[in-house]
Symmetry: C2
Subunit: 238 residues, 2 copies
Amino acid sequence: MPSLAGFTATAALLADPARSAMLHALLGGEALTAGELARIAGIAPPTASGHLAQLLAGGLVAVHRQGRHRYHRLASEEVAAALEALGCLAALADGAAPRRRAWPHGEAFRTARLCYDHLAGRLGVGLHARLTAGAWLVPAPGGWRLSGEGAQRLAALGLDLDAARRARRFACDCMDWSERRPHLAGGLGRALAQALLRQGWLRRAAPRADDPFARRRLAPTPEGARVLREAFGLDLAA
Amino acid sequence: MPSLAGFTATAALLADPARSAMLHALLGGEALTAGELARIAGIAPPTASGHLAQLLAGGLVAVHRQGRHRYHRLASEEVAAALEALGCLAALADGAAPRRRAWPHGEAFRTARLCYDHLAGRLGVGLHARLTAGAWLVPAPGGWRLSGEGAQRLAALGLDLDAARRARRFACDCMDWSERRPHLAGGLGRALAQALLRQGWLRRAAPRADDPFARRRLAPTPEGARVLREAFGLDLAA
DNA sequence: GGGCCGCTTCGGCGGCGCGCGAAGCCGCAC
DNA sequence: GTGCGGCTTCGCGCGCCGCCGAAGCGGCCC
């Protein structure tokens, strides 16, 4: 059973406007740099740095260095769950109708979504697992490279592999926030997402003013579900 | 979507040791007076009064006057959910094993438990509903009184109705925290709980040092489940 | 009615922590 | 190497909030 001190310390981390603005920005699942988070929270970089250090020490965010940038993301799904529960409570107190999910990042968001320009959610994680398990992708310095069979089969799905190879990184892992396992980023991840969207196998949700994350939500079309099952053995309903 | 200000205001309510001690004390589902909560939190009555006013304004607790006492309870199940989610998070940050339920007031606790000396949870609420719907209990000033048939059938179950009538209040409602509907309190509620326990139809869980609420948890024996079904049409599994 | 008791309101004190600017560190680009 | 830009550490000021004692209000009991 957690100590009361730990409980209040964690709650205190959420009780500051700047910190909670940062956390809510990270709810989308993308990793953001300290500077971006400072701008979002409307505070100076030194202040943001201090807040992020606290969130890190409190285990609410995790950090990931990349060059001179430091990317921050939510540390675990429990953080998102706590934010959601508290948000639900605050909405009730505001006199809002007693809705159960105050945040729109529910189950639908975890099935398939865009992370930057590549695929995330169960779809992204499942593809990563399938491509590596089937040796379509094989380890390479700094990430992955395509095997001969992998290149052939992905090209057959309409991926622009030449464009993918021109990217700064061809294929690397990106930690999936909701699944806690990696999905595929880099030029290949981008090419994969573009191909599935271009062929009409995935469809983007319509942007909504009241939901800044709607534009990143994805859903497979019936035809797309068939292709994913046949080509990769993926069943998103599972 | 709730405002960020509301979110931080709610989180701030949880970020104080005294307030969160009070809320965790209320997690058991009993309504407690301001004085009891002050003692639990280890603060002076005026300080507790201020905190309770804040929790009330923030919609986290509800209050219920009875004579010169003011009984406080959690305002909604969402409050308990948020406390649990945050507690889970704090336990993770404390380096604990990533358990999912940090608080033991899960489903089992909602099935059947003692509230002071009477029955609560689905069992208590179900009995209340059955007794009133079947006109075993009929409205009376300040609560309920037994109808002739009600008295006969409850006496047949072994209730000490004379002792019940000697209580300050014979039968009145007590709001059930987990079910949001009333269960039966007063002398009759006490007599009911005692009879079911004495006959071995309900069994109390063993006290546990790491779980202050274990001693209030109840479970029907197989024989008890049969009696509850036959006498009241209650099926706790439902 | 008198006294007690539970609870609240008021006023003043003290400390935690949020905020920023200035300065320093480090990786990258030219 | 040199310069730039992202980020952190340091130091200080200020405001918010928790804390209590004293006093006031209202219900209850003898």
